[in-house]
Symmetry: C2
Subunit: 239 residues, 2 copies
């Protein structure tokens, strides 16, 4: 009976941090009796500063927040937590820290057992999926694996954007990059989550929320296979 909120990003242009997700976070945490949040700041270098930055909007919603780096044992902190919020930043740095602190198995087990609610944004959403193969980030450190927390059996590309038809830049578009992943013969679909969107997951139910929607990419297709919109039930992805 997993409980997850997977955000494409934490901040929309011109809005306060977490504003677009505020109502969903409050309602979902209330439903699951979450009052305390263990914040995981590993995706940025300055853990204190990052925890301070994210505590502000979360405290304003009524939550008590503490950074995992302030505990003598991060693993024990996870074992006792009601809920983790894994912040965005660099996905490679984040996943390496999760492995180095022996948190991958304990987070997976507690979330899948329904004992730990999981919230993540951007890199925090990437690591919640099967693997980080579809992150947008630069590989600034070498993690021991690209396999991740595997709380959902598919991949996500956060901050998804459509190609800009007026661009003269010759780097690959986001769509081209995702199709490159799929042509390597894996059979995990990839959900491109536009900014301002999130997945609300409870057990085997998955609802997409957010005005901009999402695009699904799957092996054997030369472009997006399907497009999803606000409040659409996409539980089949968990099947």
């Amino acid at each position: 009976m997993r409980k997850l909120l997977l955000l494409s990003n934490s901040k929309l242009h011109g809005e306060p941090r977490l504003e677009f997700a505020k109502d969903t976070i409050i309602a979902s945490c209330k439903k699951h009796c979450v009052s305390d949040i263990l914040f995981v700041p590993y995706a940025l270098k300055d853990h204190d500063e990052y925890t301070k930055m994210m505590t502000e909007p979360l405290a304003a919603m009524g939550f008590t927040v503490r950074g995992i780096h302030t505990f003598p044992s991060p693993k024990q902190a996870v074992e006792k937590a009601q809920c983790v919020f894994v912040g965005g930043g660099n996905t490679f740095r984040l996943l390496k820290e999760l492995y180095d602190n022996e948190l991958v198995d304990v987070i997976h087990k507690r979330v899948m057992d329904g004992k730990l609610m999981y919230m993540g944004a951007s890199a925090g959403t990437n690591v919640a999926t099967a693997s980080i193969h579809t992150t947008n980030d630069m590989p600034i450190v070498y993690p021991p694996s690209f396999e991740a927390l595997n709380l959902v059996p598919f991949n996500i590309n956060p901050h998804f954007v459509d190609p800009d038809p007026s661009s003269t830049h010759m780097g690959e578009t986001r769509t081209q990059r995702i199709l490159e992943y799929l042509e390597m013969g894996n059979n995990r679909p990839v959900l491109g989550l536009y900014e301002g969107c999130l997945l609300e997951i409870e057990g085997n139910k998955c609802i997409l929320k957010g005005k901009r929607g999402a695009k699904l990419f799957a092996e054997g297709h030369n472009d997006a296979k399907e497009t999803f919109t606000d409040n659409q039930d996409i539980s089949f992805l968990l099947g």
Copy 2:
């Protein structure tokens, strides 16, 4: 007495492939008595198609081209070659193939001994440097290491672009990503090569060519440390 041409990209918008680098490629290969090119198509999935696509402009310059994948032993092909051209595509896929085919050491040794000329574009330029930590590509496969051919002791970010001040997208800018790499405490500088630029390297001499120039990023700086322009001698980066 290494001889390298490291291109930011292979194709500029609205131009034929390799057009911007044509004169330099012809002059440099003539100087180093190169008539045959061993093309390395590992960064794209379809090796035959990719070799065909790159043979066209190279043959028009007068070169004989053959894909490394058509040899029974890629390693022996490198041992006998005058020159390799390593094409762009996905840097992770390319580096993994170089390791899987046991080509990393042999290319390094023959290039550093002055026996093999090296040309690379985009991903082919990334793998020529110390490591692939500053590629723009998606990590679609897991290579055994991010350390690369180490033909030059610094990192390159190909297809470099400045932040777009009008953008409302919240993903990290290229500059932010490079600074994230540098804040991890390594002491390799990162050269951001704008599209249409290349490095011409002979022994310990390195000349930047191309109208758009390059930006150098180094540890302890909050933005680019230096900007370089066409024909500038930046040999100090090899020191």
